[in-house]
């Protein structure tokens, strides 16, 4: 019994970070109707930024978070103007292909520089022990920081003028434009914010698990499952969806071989798409 509880708690902690990764994807999706396939590469960029910050520059791991957020934001802006801006309003396949190409370029560059070997950022942080089980400090702190970031994002979207502008554009771009919202600027901002969230979630994953240049794919796939659970374009739903996914992983593994978790996850993905096409947690949009 204790084992099951331990697995559930651990699933919740890691699931929160999946949620953070998915918040980035869903923000972009919701606001500009673009499926951002560079997401996995941006997560990996966050991981390697952490690696460079800690090993080459000697920065303590968690102090790397703010600069990684800023770098992710700026990189997202650049990416928006290079690969996304001209695809807005075109058939969805166009932006899909465009972001997929950028993804390939980024992963190719990463492979050329680092190869596909495994990198480990050793973080020493005491964990919390309960019965014979230990919850690693890195997992607890990552979940805590995720909650903090999600809270800040919520405040930003609901309490600030520009946040409200983002929501307005997501709701109805034409109407937003009619009332004088500079929609292009808002779109680039949302894309940059989504990229920054991807980078930071990559960084947090990097403190928990070793990673390679190719690690992004797995987390990108999870982000899609989470987005389907949480509702397209719904950041709060994404966080809940992430936690739900973690919970399912934690709940399933004590009872069955781990190979089955993927089957369950993607079975759920399909079921959610069919039964709740707007997401299980999409009680209301925004």
């Amino acid at each position: 019994m204790a084992g099951i509880l331990a697995s559930i708690v651990d699933g919740l902690l890691v699931g929160a970070v999946y949620g953070l990764a998915a918040m980035g994807i869903t923000l972009i999706w919701g606001v500009m109707n673009v499926v951002n396939l560079t997401h996995g590469a941006l997560i990996v960029a966050g991981m390697f930024a952490l690696y460079i910050a800690t090993s080459a520059l000697g920065v303590p791991p968690y102090l790397a978070l703010p600069p990684i957020f800023v770098a992710g934001f700026l990189f997202g802006l650049l990416l928006y103007w290079i690969a996304v801006h001209r695809m807005i309003g075109r058939p969805p396949l166009m932006s899909l292909l465009s972001t997929f190409s950028v993804n390939l370029v980024l992963i190719g560059l990463g492979t050329a520089v680092w190869g596909t070997r495994l990198f480990n950022v050793a973080v020493t942080l005491p964990g919390v022990s309960w019965n014979r089980y230990t919850f690693p400090g890195t997992h607890i702190l990552a979940a805590g920081l995720t909650a903090l970031l999600a809270g800040l994002l919520y405040l930003f979207l609901y309490r600030t003028r520009i946040g409200k502008a983002i929501r307005a554009v997501a709701d109805n771009r034409e109407a937003a434009e009619l009332v004088g919202i500079p929609t292009t600027r808002v779109l680039s901002l949302a894309f940059a914010l989504g990229s920054a969230l991807a980078g930071v979630s990559g960084m947090l994953i990097g403190t928990m698990f070793p990673f390679t240049v190719l690690s992004g794919d797995a987390y990108q796939l999870k982000s899609f499952v989470v987005t389907a659970l949480g509702g397209l374009g719904n950041p709060t739903g994404a966080l809940l969806g992430g936690i739900a996914l973690g919970l399912i992983e934690g709940l399933a593994t004590p009872f069955m071989p781990v190979s089955w978790t993927l089957v369950i996850e993607f079975g759920l993905f399909v079921a959610a798409l069919i039964l709740f096409p707007r997401g299980i947690f999409a009680l209301r949009r925004w």
């Binding site: 596909t116 050793a122 698990f209 593994t253």
Partner: protein
């Protein structure tokens, strides 16, 4: 004037172009793929470095002597991206288009099994340095030669050592769902049961698993004393890190492949005490019939690549050395004669003894080579691998329990 220069350039180009053609008769082409990218990349590149070192040494010494001819060695290699589909295409290309006369195996049992289908189809000799799964040799293949110990012996040393320390140890088998790891564990399960160890958990995980939290909780829940398992580098290293982070409190952990690589030390304290079945360690002292001693190999490898030699690089080198020996014995590069010489091979190199099974039902399987068990220990404040089993080869006392 200009015309004269052009003519001179054309002549020079002609000479350059003709030069390889002149040497072609005195060259043998060996084809292989390596996983420059993908999850098998760390061990595959190590294996390739060993093979390249052998090639460079042979060529510097004037080539392989067969009868009264000398052959320089040329490699043709491609990146298989750790994917079976690529291996299938590329080995066909190596044979048909690049006219490879001999083949080296890719890295890993899965990829080697795929390559073997192609090499056998074309009747090419393939020296196998990275495919331990024994099944490949039980399919009636004729031209495969496995230089390394096969998978069913990987964990026998660990089981013996564990039994010596704790005859009633509770064992968790946690292993990657791939052909190699499953073959290793299926033999080890029997060995553990025979030794009277108690198996409390038996769990296969997908090879691309990146989060072992739930599995580690299962190990803790099963109250295991020892963990035997793993798979290849990325999963094995991640598992080791999470065992440490989640304080699994194991008394013993043997993980396949990953801890055999120098990069494992980047895990820091999570690496301490983890043991690995190793095909070769630089401290091993075999008296070679030919070629370098272990110390000489390790030194030359370090000088060439500025890296420590591990068992994958040693097996890569040995694959070449064994093929060279067979060609020299045969006095010819004709495949039938070289295959016959390989069938008769029974030699000791710095890597240990090598002898192939010749009966049809398991032709090419390695019979004589033995593995050791190496453990990451603190040596003068630094992490280093020491041979801890068998006792006859020990360079340090076994660290037990780990914590």
């Amino acid at each position: 004037m200009l015309r004269g220069k052009l003519a001179a350039a054309a002549v020079a180009l002609g000479v350059l172009a003709a030069a390889p053609a002149l040497a072609a008769d005195d060259e043998i082409t060996i084809g292989m793929t390596l996983s420059q990218t993908g999850p098998l990349n760390v061990d595959s590149v190590a294996q390739m470095r060993g093979a390249e070192m052998w090639r460079d040494e042979v060529n510097a010494a004037g080539g392989i002597k067969a009868g009264d001819k000398r052959y320089k060695v040329r490699f043709v290699s491609y990146d298989d991206q750790s994917q079976g589909g690529r291996v299938q295409q590329l080995y066909t290309r190596l044979i048909v288009q690049d006219k490879a006369q001999f083949l080296f195996s890719p890295y890993s049992s899965g990829l080697t099994g795929t390559a073997a289908v192609i090499s056998e189809q074309y009747g090419k000799i393939m020296v196998i340095t990275g495919g331990a799964e024994p099944k490949t040799y039980e399919l009636g293949n004729k031209d495969l030669f496995q230089v390394i110990t096969s998978a069913d012996h990987y964990l026998s040393g660990a089981v013996d050592a564990l039994h010596a320390k704790n005859p009633k140890a509770a064992v968790a088998f946690v292993y990657s769902d791939d052909p190699f790891s499953k073959a290793v564990v299926s033999a080890a399960r029997e060995q553990a049961a025979e030794a009277g160890l108690k198996i409390v958990l038996d769990e296969a995980y997908p090879p691309n698993t990146t989060d072992f939290s739930a599995i580690v909780n299962k190990i803790i829940g099963a109250q295991a004393d020892a963990l035997l398992g793993g798979g290849h580098y990325p999963d094995g290293a991640t598992l080791a890190r999470q065992l440490y982070d989640q304080k699994a409190n194991l008394k013993w952990a043997t993980i396949l492949v990953a801890p055999g690589n120098e990069e494992f030390a980047t895990l820091g304290p999570a690496a301490l005490g983890i043991s690995v079945p190793s095909q070769w360690e630089s401290q091993a002292v075999y008296k070679p019939d030919f070629g370098p001693t272990g110390a000489e190999f390790a030194k030359a490898f370090k000088a060439k690549f500025n890296l420590e030699a591990d068992y994958h690089s040693a097996s890569g080198y040995t694959g070449g050395a064994i093929l060279q020996h067979a060609i020299e014995q045969a006095g010819s590069i004709e495949p039938e004669k070289v295959a016959a010489a390989l069938n008769g091979t029974d030699v000791t190199t710095f890597f240990g003894r090598v002898k192939f099974a010749t009966e049809a039902k398991r032709h090419g399987l390695q019979l004589a080579h033995e593995m050791v068990l190496a453990q990451w220990q603190n040596k003068d404040g630094k992490l280093a691998r020491e041979i801890v089993w068998p006792k006859s080869a020990q360079t340090a006392e076994l660290l037990y329990p780990l914590h």
